[in-house]
Symmetry: C2
Subunit: 427 residues, 2 copies
């Protein structure tokens, strides 16, 4: 059992312990880190029953509080979701260790050889809401990248997170690694978050995950650098020269497969040349799936009834449920302009078979993930090949888009010489 | 002449113009950017007389104000320094354009192809003190990386910066590029800095360069991400198995060649096995160069007289003048511990011929630039091969160490598919 469950040290004490653990982790051999990660995965599976029991209590309590279905979906753990967490940890174990990686060195005219070496960031603070899988995913990625992590999950998932952390600590202790490497703040008290955000002496980066309110609060309060995304207002643009059966697939996958997540589609943009053909097909498909449409005047003129009028708010909305805004546009340029106005720099999709149009879209659309003829739902660390994902950044500094291992490291310059000086020295 | 010299728009208006210019720059062809950069270099040379005249006025005024020699050294322009600015711009023109660069794409099990494309950050705000060459260096690097730049130089260099900006604007206008791409805040009013730091809607990154006070003020005030370094407390560690003539060269180059800069040496650490041999040689060399030594008890026992006692403050000091702290250490481990305690994460040097010792130093010392048998003075964007340097980061997020072109960009994910969905879709 983690000591954090029985005592209640201050958040600053926890962060200082984390910093010490980070120093130890920074030179831990890769093989040892991988062994710990695989043990963590095994421990999650071994503790499945305890984790599901704790999660069941969290879910019941959340239902009693009248939490929305979208949030319940994020909170619920199943044997499959625990299996996925464990597999993600094993994936991370199988990845190359970024720490210590040297870029190829170049020789400068002065004679010195210059390279860059990848190193950990230090202590990562995670502040997140309902999803308990974040506890394992974040711990695994931070650990592999040589960072300690200070975790502050949502109060709705408190029991689930404690149970997951307890399994992870078993693995750390079995390998004689400082358990402070994965530290869960043992309180649901909001003041703990506030304190955490002042600890810039101990914590190097804050990654908030959750609703826009939480993220704005963290961003405005923190004295520590914050990497965040506010929301995912993702568009699917169906070009004049699109394969409409592909467009149908991407629309259904993007809107219906898991509407509560940030890479789900919120707005459909259709080129006027294919609107008469595509919109009725889209309406039928989406109607069968229970999706409510809100369209502009041209959309409503084509679809006639059952489509509410889309307001400005609709185009800016991250619905996170079975609602879709629709707009007919004159050109791919108009689609890009709509995205510039309403997009959230998260994920944007074009369906087209015209190469120059695809290239223009890719180059000009300012989003962290731009997809051509592929579903917005691929905008995810695992799907993009990063392993479990620590977060998504829709601001451009340090990282842009889904963040994996590399985003949890930085590089220092390493120079080898044979006594070179910058100015001639006469001794 | 820049319009900014005759009107006085608000800083917010300037920043909004900058943002518009950044949008235009983000898709500017490489050849056009290089043409502008070469024209900028030519214009600096053509305007040499005007720039030197303006700088002369700045220097006279600074001398009257009783500004320190270290600051005057930073402020003074000479034909050689103007030539260096122009050459740095030509270097930047000759570099590969990072914007649009695609990393090799990987194919995922789902069938999608995933790559990353390098893109500009947007608008960079520079806040700096005396050195007027920053105006040209920053403008060139930001421009090549597709960013607009909002420049707020020190009041001591106001006339110099205006003269330099005026030359750069000639080049932009001659190539029909929005001159707001390089915007100099046309006032020495401190309130302009304060306003600038609130403009997170328009400015993506703030890079302050100058004294610790300025940088702390910017960091604590800014609502925009800040990349900074406070100071350079750089150490030279002479190992037991060091080539002492190399150590002499690096010591002299690091301490004496330009003591006012942040990559100059501030502390010498000497292994006890070579202290009896090396310290007298060091004292003689440095004494001839006018350097004052402050040492620990063991150093003073060896050197006998003329060496003041080093206090804690000495070991933490960034002297920026001809003073050097000295300490004898038991081992390379003790040297690393001293550096952990007093270092500033900037630049650290070891002189050793023992490979494992060198490797331990490189891996364990937490500094943005770690050098083996080479002078600390190479810790500089130009010397490391980055071209003119936009700044140095001693924090790890986004960039660590001297920042060149790449540090002024970020990457977005680009995905190509053929209709892939994340979940099977049955239509």
């Amino acid at each position: 059992m983690p000591k954090t469950a029985t005592e209640t040290p201050s958040v600053e004490t926890l962060a200082a312990d984390c910093e010490q653990a980070a120093r130890e982790l920074s030179t831990l051999p890769t093989e040892k880190k991988n062994r710990v990660l695989r043990r963590m995965a095994d421990a999650l599976e071994a503790e499945e029953e305890a984790i599901l029991a704790a999660n069941g209590q969290d879910v019941s309590a959340a239902r009693e509080e009248g939490i929305s279905d979208a949030l319940i979906d994020r909170l619920v753990l199943t044997p499959e979701r625990i299996e996925k967490m464990a597999d993600a940890l094993r994936d991370v174990a199988s990845f190359a260790d970024p720490v210590g990686e040297m870029s190829s060195t170049t020789k400068r005219p002065s004679g010195i050889e210059v390279g860059k070496m990848r190193i950990p960031l230090g202590v990562i603070g995670m502040i997140y809401e309902a999803r308990p899988n974040v506890t394992a995913d974040a711990a695994g990625l931070c650990f592999k990248a040589g960072n300690a992590v200070l975790l502050r999950g949502g109060s709705n998932a408190f029991r689930s997170n404690q149970a997951i952390a307890s399994a992870l600590h078993e693995a750390l202790e079995a390998e004689n690694v400082n358990p402070a490497a994965v530290t869960v703040v043992p309180t649901t008290d909001r003041a703990a978050v506030e304190e955490m955000l002042t600890l810039n002496e101990h914590v190097d980066l804050i990654i908030p995950r959750g609703g826009e309110g939480l993220i704005r609060y963290v961003d405005e309060t923190s004295r520590i650098p914050v990497i965040k995304h506010y929301k995912g207002v993702c568009h699917l643009y169906v070009d004049r020269n699109a394969d409409l059966s592909v467009a149908e697939d991407l629309l259904l996958d993007g809107k219906v497969s898991r509407p509560s997540v940030c890479n789900a589609l919120e707005t459909l943009l259709v080129h006027e040349d294919v609107a008469d053909d595509f919109l009725p097909r889209a309406k039928e498909l989406l109607g069968d799936a229970g999706v409510e449409l809100r369209g502009d005047a041209r959309t409503r003129a084509i679809l006639l009834d059952g489509v509410a009028e889309a307001t400005e708010d609709d185009y800016a909305a991250e619905y996170l449920d079975l609602t879709l805004a629709v707009r007919v546009v004159d050109s791919d340029e108009a689609a890009r302009a709509h995205i510039t106005e309403y997009g959230s720099n998260h994920t944007e999709v074009i369906v087209t078979d015209t190469l120059p149009t695809a290239r223009r879209f890719v180059r000009s659309v300012d989003a962290s993930v731009v997809l051509v003829n592929a579903s917005s739902r691929f905008s995810d660390g695992g799907e993009l090949g990063l392993g479990a994902e620590i977060g998504i950044s829709t601001t451009k500094l340090h990282a842009y888009g889904p963040m994996g291992l590399d985003a949890l490291t930085t590089e220092k310059f390493v120079v080898y010489g044979t006594g070179e000086t910058r100015h001639p020295v006469e001794t």
